[in-house]
């Protein structure tokens, strides 16, 4: 229910997606997607599977390169630069540097299996940002406490439940002090009983003013937390508006049909 972010920040754009196209083989997965997200805004992306939601997230931090269009995070192009009207892919190192500030949480958690929870969270800050170990550990402990796993710091991922793993994964992403957090169906792989704890953690992150894009099937979460809801189908944005309006009064018949089935 963060209706509008403070006026000063609300005006600038954190994420600009402009006419993005993506093919996977012969499949035209994204067919000209435009989305803008302002700083501090929380946007939920809904849509049937295969609609291109997850691919869109992977394109935002250049895990998958786009085939056309522009993606800018905080005014900075990710993965490509323009020379004479043509997009050129950047070098690995530059892309990696740009990605540091975009947090990503995956459907299958993807915690580093050979590291403890604490090492998972401190790895980025120490090995990539070059923070002193002491400082990183202190920060990581704070984050683990925040996601309710202070006493699990020395556990390995295989010793944690799915919900716990996902919360560590959120802490790992937050440790990089991202400007933007992306969640790719963060609760889809969880037992029903464990969904609540992850959504609760995400709510907390949202309350702290983080800019968030959440691909999800949790309509309840979208209604409660999101400022805006984007509905996608077959690689296009069909509807994009204030969360309540889209969820309670969908204008596109495809959105309405989808919501009827999910409810």
């Amino acid at each position: 229910m963060t209706q509008t972010a403070p006026a000063g920040i609300a005006t600038d754009t954190m994420l600009r997606i402009d006419g993005v196209h993506k093919w996977l083989g012969h499949l035209h997965v994204l067919r000209g997607v435009d989305i803008q997200v302002r700083t501090g805004e929380i946007v939920c992306i809904l849509g049937p599977s295969g609609s291109g939601k997850s691919t869109l997230l992977r394109c935002i931090n250049h895990l998958d390169p786009v085939d056309g269009g522009v993606i800018e995070v905080n005014g900075e192009r990710i993965g490509h630069e323009v020379h004479g009207g043509q997009l050129y892919e950047q070098g690995e190192r530059r892309v990696a540097k740009a990605r540091q500030h975009i947090g990503m949480v995956f459907q299958h958690f993807n915690l580093f299996g050979h590291m403890t929870a604490l090492d998972n969270v401190t790895y980025g800050p120490t090995r990539i940002l070059g923070r002193p170990r002491k400082e990183a550990v202190a920060h990581a402990r704070q984050l683990l406490a925040k996601v309710g796993l202070a006493e699990k710091e020395s556990s390995y991922p295989s010793q944690l439940s799915g919900g716990q793993q996902q919360r560590v994964a959120i802490a790992r992403a937050l440790a990089m002090e991202p400007r933007l957090m992306m969640f790719d169906e963060p609760t889809s792989a969880l037992d029903p009983e464990l969904v609540g704890e992850v959504l609760q953690t995400m709510r907390q992150v949202a309350e702290e003013g983080m800019t968030m894009i959440v691909v999800t099937h949790e309509v309840g979460f979208a209604r409660e937390v999101a400022d805006r809801v984007v509905f996608m189908d077959q690689g296009r944005v069909l509807e994009d508006g204030p969360a309540r309006e889209v969820l309670d009064n969908p204008q596109h018949e495809r959105t309405a049909a989808f919501l009827r089935r999910v409810h």
Binding site: A96, I102, F112, H114, G148, E151, A173, Q200
Partner: protein, 317 residues
């Protein structure tokens, strides 16, 4: 009949909606029924047959004058034979180490985005895995025919039987090891790379720091297997006089014609080496195969142990 019926209490027979009350225990009177396993008759019969056959064989051979156990025993710890054992061990260890290093390079080449490197890697595996080891040993030993001189040195003096054998075994083995290492890399889910890349690693860094460490668990057990194979494959070197165990045994029986007793010496030594390696492999497997990474490396302090698992799943505060 009536004895077995006692578990079907009234609660079990007719209830539409059962709610467990505190203190509810299964309605069992008396001792629970004991289940007895069927005796394994087949196993007993097989055992008797095997023992009988073994006894027959031993009895027939113990008195066979051609076995000459005394000769076997005499040469078992002969210095020449022992040196051969040493050479065999050296060959196996060095060839294995060299092949692992080569194999890592080849596996990474095959997996890389660089198409040319990938094709070269595949070609390498195709050749060195495809040509029989024995042929490779002979090829390297006869290199002088193609290149009489290497770096101004006479090839034949540069490449001894041992060196030729070592090169051949290393290269042939590296073809197999490359596939094992590649399998290990593939076995790590792609999500691990995604996660590494998403916090700002390059793809190569993610491969080296996130994927490779996790693939070791999968690579180690088959590598132990390959090493055992290598211990035996060293005997191929005998065709070029590699001064290994088999070469020396052959040299000795070439002089005294006690062929079988000396072959038995070789058999026993190979079995001893393989058994030792097998025990080592067993421990490696136990460490890398069955265990989760967590259970083998307990951290200094884990305040709340297993009990905490259930308490924290309740939800974030």
């Amino acid at each position: 009949m009536s004895e077995l019926n006692h578990s079907s209490s009234p609660a079990l027979t007719a209830r539409a909606h059962y709610v467990r009350q505190p203190g509810d225990e299964p309605a069992v009177q008396g001792a629970p029924i004991r289940a007895k396993r069927r005796p394994q008759y087949g196993q007993i019969v097989t055992g008797f047959v095997a023992i009988a056959l073994l006894a027959l064989f031993i009895q027939s051979q113990a008195q066979n004058p051609n076995m000459e156990w005394g000769v076997t025993w005499e040469y078992m710890f002969n210095p020449v034979v022992l040196e051969g054992v040493g050479v065999t061990i050296q060959l196996a260890i060095f060839a294995m180490l060299i092949s692992i290093v080569l194999a890592f390079v080849i596996a990474l080449m095959i997996q890389s985005n660089n198409k040319v490197a990938s094709i070269i890697g595949r070609g390498y595996v195709w050749f060195f895995r495809g040509v029989p080891m024995l042929v490779q040993v002979l090829l390297w030993f006869n290199l002088a025919v193609l290149f009489p001189k290497i770096l101004g040195q006479d090839t034949n003096s540069l490449i001894s039987g041992f060196t030729a054998g070592l090169i051949a075994l290393s290269l042939a083995e590296s073809g197999y090891m490359a596939e094992i290492i590649r399998g290990g890399i593939i076995s790590v889910p792609a999500g691990q790379t995604d996660a590494g890349v998403s916090i700002g690693l390059t793809r190569n860094q993610a491969l080296a720091r996130i994927v490779l460490p996790q693939s070791i668990r999968v690579i180690i057990p088959p590598t132990g297997n390959q090493f055992i194979g290598m211990l035996k494959a060293t005997s191929l070197v005998s065709v070029i006089g590699g001064s290994d165990l088999l070469t020396r045994v052959q040299l000795i029986y070439g002089q005294n014609f006690k062929i079988l007793p000396l072959l038995i010496v070789a058999v026993l030594w190979y079995l001893i080496l393989v058994t030792i390696a097998g025990v080592g492999q067993h421990f490696l497997e136990r460490r890398f195969n069955a265990s989760q990474p967590g259970s083998r490396k307990p951290r200094k302090h884990s305040p709340a142990g297993a009990a905490a698992t259930t308490t924290t799943t309740g939800g974030a505060p």
